[in-house]
Amino acid sequence: MTENISKVRQSTWFSEKILLGLTIKDYLRVLATPINILAALVIMVGLPFIVMRYVFGLAAVTYSSNDQPFGLFLSWGLFAGVPMASTGFIMATAVYLFGLKEYKPLVRPAVLTGFIGYFFAVIFLLIDLGQPWRLPYPMIRSFGTGSVLFLVAWHVALYLSVQFLEFSPAVFEWLEAKRLHRWAVGLTIGATIFGVILSTLHQSALGAMFLLAPAKLHPLWYTPYLPVLFFVSAIFCGMSVIILEAALVYKLMPKRVDPRHFQTIDRLTLGLGKAAAITMLSYFCLKFIAVAHENAWPLLATSYGRLFLLEVGGFVLVPGFIFVQATRRRSAALARLAAAITVPGVILNRLTVSFFALNYDLPNREFFHPREIVIAITIITIELLLYRWVVNRLPVHRGLPADSYVH
């Protein structure tokens, strides 16, 4: 009898926590939506290519070579993925260190995005490197303290752990583990400070990696300021990602959002937009200081120059201006539009630095391999599904701070 009771309890727990209170049959029925079927198809096509990469090696799925060291896995997954995952440290700093407490409703979504972003950056890295069991090598076995990769490896590993700690209060709330929750909340400030140090260092370290190849990177993008440029652009990229993420979740999953947040989200969006506009102006000027430093003005008239102007004009100046107008007109919709232009702009910048403008003068350069593109789309799909899975279950956009409540 006791066994039966514990079995019933177990099944209730599983149904409540994992199946959203449904039976397995109902849950599977609810899952059969066109979007889920499409996602399943993408994964079914992509997974065999990932297996292929491990069985036949990198050459089976990419055109990467010594001349083209970074394919889509690293250009997209690591170099573009990491600035998009800067959300966590930006919001945690704003709320816990700068005391901008009204932004608290955005901390958990931002930390979750950051954590998932970094986690999948590591997945992309593992697919690119192969031999996952050797992942700890650059960190503990054959580390070189003079290597930027040593820095990146340690930073990403530590920061991933820190972000998990920062997000853990939501996990413990979900599991109703009160003591662990209290313990995790107590760690928040420490984890935030540690996280800020780590993310400042490694966002810029990704840029610093290219300082090792001054002759290989096109002079319009190569500059000793690269670490600073990477860090500053990660800030407004992260802010834009938070704006877009909140807009999408509030629109597509309104049931998972605390109703009170709907009244404040426009104000918070505008605050983030204003901060992004200020950061983007600084970045815009830094970009031209970098060009002046390299004295690369004549190159602006070349085809790479046009790409540079498109990136700085179309994806920094234009969205920056829209952010300013959004702030002045108090229009959250305009701020969302600006954010939707800003994020692709930062992605374009990272793809350019790590792919298009690297070894730009070599003949016979290849574009991305189609299989590589399929693998990247597969990983992005899994990433989005994981995010949705967590938001559907854990108190990410819900839950009041413990000290304010309605009785």
């Binding site: 009244q263 404040t264 000027c285 430093h293 009785h407």
Partner: protein, 245 residues
């Protein structure tokens, strides 16, 4: 180096020029981003500075068309039979930065003079009395999430509840109108002066903006809770129900 162009190019002066240009641009940018056409329109319809200053009594805001309950809550008439309720400027300055608020739920019934909500500041919790009787129809989510909005804008964004009352006119008549309230606030200010450590009062009251630590704490760090309860009419020896002033 023959020309100015070469001088500027080879000495890398352009970098410095861009940096200086950036700083100048930033000044213009900052002014531009902070002047909103929407805000300008609002300011145009807002009352003049002179009339706003006239709303202050001894450093405490007592705006027009607002009614007051002696427990330092205010009431404003909305359309229909709805009244908006909040904490007055004296009340928020007395307690200082409000950290927590515990408000009644939508649908809950309030009785005039009965404890209606709780606020927490610096580790102390205070009850406040409802200035009206009726049913709560809306709770300010901003005040719940960020209670210090009450300190920033007690009569605007810091409102607490909207209450539906069947006897709106009679309720408003039972409260203090602006003129009476100004005299009452003057009296309350005078009562602060009889507090044991009133020598700090001049300094405290000179701060017309939101005093972070609150007037009561500045007066007496040990017994400040009692001072607040005395003014909120919730001191322990006053158990009886208080209604009309």
């Amino acid at each position: 180096m023959h020309t100015l162009f070469e001088f500027v190019t080879y000495t890398k002066s352009v970098e410095y020029l861009i940096a200086v240009g950036f700083l100048l641009l930033f000044v213009a940018f900052w002014r531009y981003i902070n002047t909103s056409p929407v805000a300008a329109r609002r300011t145009a319809t807002a009352p003049s500075l002179a009339s706003r200053l006239a709303d202050y009594v001894g450093g405490f805001l007592v705006p027009d068309q607002t009614y007051f309950h002696p427990g330092h809550a205010w009431v404003r008439a909305e359309s229909g039979d709805v009244l908006t309720v909040g904490i007055d400027d004296f009340g928020q300055k007395l307690v200082g930065k409000i950290d927590t608020l515990r408000l009644p739920k939508v649908g809950q019934r309030l009785s005039q003079g009965e404890p209606a909500w709780e606020l927490g500041a610096a580790g102390e919790v205070f009850n406040m009395l409802s200035p009206v009787s009726g049913e709560v129809v809306e709770v300010n989510p901003n005040a719940l999430w960020t209670p210090w909005v009450v300190n920033q804008d007690p009569f605007g964004d810091g409102w607490l509840l909207k209450v539906r009352t069947p006897r709106k006119t009679a309720t408003l008549r039972s409260l203090l109108g602006t003129d009476l309230a100004k005299r009452w606030i003057e009296d309350a200010r005078a009562r602060l002066l009889v507090q044991p450590r009133h020598e700090n009062l001049g300094r405290v009251l000179a701060d017309v903006g939101p005093a972070r630590d609150g007037i009561a704490r500045a007066l007496d760090n040990e017994h400040w809770g009692e001072i607040v309860r005395e003014f909120f009419l919730t001191a322990e020896d006053e158990h009886e129900t208080r209604s009309n002033p």
